[in-house]
Amino acid sequence: MIQSTHTARWGWGRTAWYGAEACVALTFLYSLVFIGYAIVRSTLAILATPEIDAGLTATLIATWAGLALPALVVAALAAIPVALIGALTALAIRVLLALGSATPTPRRAGASGLAVCVVVSLALLALLTQGMGVSWTPASAATLTFWLVTPLVLYSIAGTVASWQMAESWLRRRTAFGELR
């Protein structure tokens, strides 16, 4: 029984890699969504301008590229710290799940994932507000929503879903091992 449980669970390295990869993928997805949003808004503004002598189509394409390139470069730069956070989060969830029953239910795993992500998010918010003096004001609302609140909400949702999937994967493998034995 113990042997089958150990075989069913992912190793520490695989868990860390999965967490890192999921967070980096989310970062790029977020930047792609931002690029889409920025393209739509800038296009509406450009289309509202009559007679652009540099050419409407060329101006649109140049603006889209000017928006996309910096966003993707920033996402690539953010990938390094984000991968670290993702790996550490996945390991923390793995540790939390190992404390309980041999094979956690997906529901319990999801709750554990959400708890870890919320704790990390609150710690980050405390560091920024208490340690670095960042505060929520009407002037900073858009900035904090874009750079902090939305990413942390996505991170928490992703942590919950990924933990759920991890537990499902363990359950399937355990069942498969059980059937084989």
Partner: protein, 222 residues
């Protein structure tokens, strides 16, 4: 959705991201960046000697961008001089984008008499922190009323009347490669973003100056 189902998307996802970045990077270097650097400008405008340019050592690429505005120079000037986060007009560009970077920008939609006086030494804030952070502000280095305005960081704005109701707005900017931490970041983040914001500003001034027929005919700065 199980993990094996999810993993079937992993390779195509990373491949798509890699292809997108490589294709965009290649297109940018070969085609888009040269276009960015001279957006709307004629060959003559590229070599035009503009006021203020000589005071700035050109240690990086220079962009020259131009647009025709169907409004008198006085009207375009009225919009130009109320530029700045601290001057009621914002930068006439994409304020929703600037506000993602703590700019606290509120775009002005009409000409305000209190912002029509601009003097050498005045500061134009790029963002709300301009009063305390020198990187967030530019100092007016020279003014020729209704013709030219240049800032201390190598940014020149020139108005050339075409006729009584049309004006050419020409902007020249000297990029300093060390404006961000590393030149590579300056060229891949700051330079394309600067094109977006500067061309957005020029389009914003054009839209506003051409919008009001009364202003267009009378000249708002008078």
């Amino acid at each position: 959705m199980d993990s094996t189902h999810l993993s079937s998307y992993r390779k195509p996802f990373w491949l798509a991201i890699a292809v997108l970045m490589l294709a965009l990077g290649g297109l940018y270097v070969l085609i888009i960046r040269p276009y960015h650097l001279r957006w709307g400008a004629t060959d003559q405008e590229l070599v035009l000697v503009l006021p203020g340019a000589a005071a700035i050592p050109a240690d990086g690429p220079i962009s020259t961008r131009a647009i025709t505005i169907h409004a008198p120079a006085a009207t375009v000037w009225a919009w130009l001089v109320q530029t700045g986060q601290n001057r009621g007009g914002g930068w006439h560009s994409y304020d929703w984008l600037e506000n993602l970077f703590a700019a606290d920008m509120r775009e002005g939609e009409r000409i305000e008499p209190q912002w029509q006086q601009l003097r050498v030494g005045d500061q134009l804030f790029f963002a709300a922190g301009g009063a305390t952070n020198p990187a967030m502000a530019a100092t007016v280095a020279g003014i020729v009323p209704e013709r030219a305005l240049w800032l201390g960081d190598g940014w020149t704005f020139v108005l050339q009347p075409i006729d009584a109701s049309s004006t050419r707005l020409i902007l020249r900017y000297t990029l300093h490669p060390d404006v961000l931490v590393h030149p590579l970041l300056t060229y891949t983040i700051f330079e394309p973003a600067h094109f977006v914001m500067e061309s957005g500003m020029m389009l914003g001034i054009k839209r506003r100056a051409e919008r009001d027929p009364l202003l267009r005919n009378s000249g708002a700065g008078r």
